[in-house]
């Protein structure tokens, strides 16, 4: 069926080169549309923030749009949009990425602008732009986290799972107090430390040949020196939690809800993949055990699911989320979910469940690779976090190779009920349903 190769033989072309200043460049030609995705990953995320700096990586991501030597405030985004580009940036635990997908005739300009801000941003920062973007970020925090039911769940969960002083113990949005402490000078120092050619990966995917892509990358970035070279210190893996730390939150929420969370192995290791497949069997969709038992058979939850959050620095984490029915508490759902968690850890999943989990994983993986922009982001991810962009072609085979026994063993090793943390949201008194 179809003209494309079967999905276990993915063959996206991957060409790599490292410039003299350390910038890693990956080019993956795809001539299906006359556009090109430019994707830059800087190897800095919220895990690199020290105590007192929580939220800075993300705040400073905003400042990357505030102008540089040859680019005015806001011009980067606005000019590339006006040429037909989709432009943005995001911050995560493990990275900060900047991307623009545009008609191929604007590629050279986009690279020139990216290089301009990498080269000269720190000397253009001023307190006014820091103040304005601080307010914008505080509004983002209010809009996306503080003013949304359960919006602070992830903040509570990573703190429970990793502890407040761990690099993953806080989320990217950070705290209002730390945001207030940011200044132009501190931002400039942060940029000089983390925004360096040798701490970045540039990926180009689209209507460009490898030769031309490398030539343009060299022309735009090749003149930049290397500075502040440093190696990331080795990370340590934390053992599984013990003693079930529990946090109960009273909040204005439409229904009671509970999360379980576990420490898992680092991303894209066979052990992590096995845990992830186990979590899919547990709560990855309509046929999963949690949905079937809690939502369909027992009718004790309005929703029940499980997922894994892949991270590179020593540990990832896994989640189960349970939403109670309106007016009910979550105790019946919690009890039933713990039974399912315990059964999975004791017996492992069935062969049919794992085959299904792999089929779902494959569709999601292929969907991620379908568009130029998300494919470029995946390539940058594997180049930055695993030093191996070719792995985008091999990942499905890696996941396919995970055996039923491995999944059972990893569920037993990492996903025991006694290894979880638990976060409970209860409806604020006076706001609950009669």
């Amino acid at each position: 069926m179809g003209n494309v190769a079967s999905s276990d033989q993915l063959n996206y072309p991957i060409h790599q080169r490292t410039l003299d200043n350390g910038l890693r460049v990956v080019v993956s030609p795809d001539h299906s549309v006359p556009m090109v995705a430019v994707n830059l990953w800087y190897d800095v995320g919220s895990r690199d923030e020290r105590p007192g700096e929580h939220g800075w990586a993300h705040l400073f991501e905003h400042l990357m749009f505030s102008g540089s030597d040859h680019v005015a405030t806001g011009e980067h985004l606005n000019l590339l949009q006006s040429l037909g580009g989709a432009v943005n940036a995001t911050t995560w635990f493990d990275r900060t990425n900047y991307f623009e997908t545009l008609p191929v005739g604007a590629l050279e300009l986009a690279l020139w602008m990216e290089a301009d801000r990498l080269a000269s941003l720190p000397s253009h920062l001023d307190e006014t732009s820091v103040d304005t973007q601080r307010e914008v970020v505080k509004e983002e925090k209010r809009q996306r986290y503080d003013n949304v039911p359960y919006g602070d769940a992830m903040q509570h969960l990573v703190r429970l799972v990793f502890g407040p002083d761990h690099p993953y113990g806080h989320t990217t949005i950070g705290s209002m107090v730390d945001l207030d402490a940011a200044t132009a000078e501190r931002a400039a120092n942060f940029f000089r430390n983390h925004y360096r050619p040798d701490n970045a990966v540039l990926t180009l995917v689209g209507d460009v040949s490898a030769k031309e892509g490398f030539k343009r990358a060299e022309r735009a970035f090749g003149h930049l020196p290397a500075w502040n070279r440093r190696l990331r210190p080795p990370v340590t893996s934390l053992p599984s939690l013990q003693g079930v730390p529990v946090l109960q939150v009273q909040a204005r929420v439409p229904a009671a809800a509970t999360w379980f969370a576990w420490r898992l192995p680092p991303r894209d290791t066979p052990d992590f993949d096995a845990c992830e497949l186990g979590l899919v069997a547990l709560g990855g969709g309509q046929t999963s055990r949690l949905h079937q038992q809690l939502v369909r058979n027992l009718g004790v939850a309005a929703g029940a699911g499980a997922s894994a959050v892949p991270l590179v620095g020593g540990n990832s984490f896994g989640l189960v989320q349970l939403r109670a029915l309106p007016g009910a508490d979550a105790s019946a759902a919690i009890e039933a979910a713990l039974t399912e968690v315990e059964r999975l850890a004791a017996e492992g999943p069935t062969a049919a469940e794992i085959a299904r989990a792999k089929a779902q994983y494959a569709r999601e993986w292929l969907s991620e690779l379908a568009a130029l922009d998300s494919r470029a982001d995946m390539i940058s991810a594997y180049a930055t976090l695993h030093s191996d962009p070719e792995r985008v072609n091999r990942r499905l085979a890696e996941v396919e190779a995970v055996t039923l026994d491995q999944v059972a063993a990893m569920c037993a090793a990492y996903l025991q009920p006694g290894q979880r943390a638990q976060l409970d949201y209860q409806q604020e008194v006076g706001d609950a349903q009669a």
């Binding site: 069926m1 179809g2 040859h70 985004l77 914008v136 809009q143 003013n147």
Partner: protein
Amino acid sequence: MRRPEHRPEVKAPPRWIFPEPARWWLDNGLQILALHRPGQYIAAVSLVLDTPLSSEPSDIEGVATITQRCLDEGTATHPGPTFAERLEDIGALLSGSAGYAASDLLLEVPASRLSEALLLLAQAISEPELRASDVERHQSLRLAEIEHTMANSSNRAQVAFRQACIPGRFRASRLAGGTAATVAAIASDDVAAYHARHYRPEGATLVISGDLTNEVYHQAAAAFGGWEVQGTLGVHHQTPVSRTPHCWLIDRPGAVQADIRLGGFGIDRGDPRWADLQVATHALGGAFLSRLNRVLREEKGFTYGVHLVNSPMRDGGLLAVQSSFRTEVVPEALDLARQLLDVTGKPITTTEVLDAVNYTNGIAPLRYSTAQGVTERVSSLVGAGLSAEFVNSNALALTRVTPESATQALTELLPPDALTLVVVGDAEALREPLVAAGWPVTLKD
């Protein structure tokens, strides 16, 4: 190496043409549209049913949504949960929505499993079990979903704005999935009856995109050729009109921000001003340095983002400034937004038109580079009573927009003295300042 001082020049993009779909009809009346996207590992399929929500009995609104959600809970061939297992076994994902003008089911699957996936989709729409226990469960889940929707400030604002702009005699003034009262009134017989009456091949369209072979027509015919229903059904689409302007304040005690919607009833894609309005909305609230975002975000820091959003329906549409602001700046932010919407003294410029057209037409190839992107676009056009050809004709229409025509469209559609406002936030803190600032708000539940 020397640093490149001069800004590189930009080469104009080649003209991009949206490919014409291959089109067939089955004997049962089902239209099939196929769009080949070479190199795409995922195929995307959409089945669009010409079933406006105005065809729901008014006391059981939401029945279309419940019917659709029960489709994958078991079929005659694969009863109960075994149906969902068959779908997941082949890596397929089935989703859907019952929209005001049309219902659609979207199926994504690795291209190598397309043939099997089409058979499963055909079973879901033609022979679902629709058991009473499934109906009851989805009813209860929908009631929970309504609670969650209304607890979310932004969703709450969206629901209220729709109600404030469209008179209650039109179905589009209310939640597509039904309200708590109407959902609670749905019985399992209602679902069976709705399915029997409205799930029919005549007037329906199957959109298939992906790396397709010449076999695609036969695959679709094998799956859907046997779909037969009795009789014919006349389909009537409502044509909503505008309500008189309202100013509503909805209380969320203690909220740290207020969500706002400011605008009014708009137009659909068939209106001659459609391209003009697209350009105007991009200039005022689409681009990063749009007039609204430049002032309210980049200069004032009042918001994470502010947009002027143009939401067409099959007939008419909604047009609104959408944002959220910290409570204390809401009156000032609204005042600035109202001034910025008034373009009579500050018309849209030639540069703004050019930027909007270049953005919209420039980004199109990316948007349509995946099977999912193509299928979603074509099925939404079909659901709105248009065809895929609209993509190219609209791209051409955009190039003919002038600063005058864009300014004129906006002036007609958003008269500054007749705007509808919805604010969802802490009423105690907001009410007096809003009234003092010239927004005569009524407190709404």
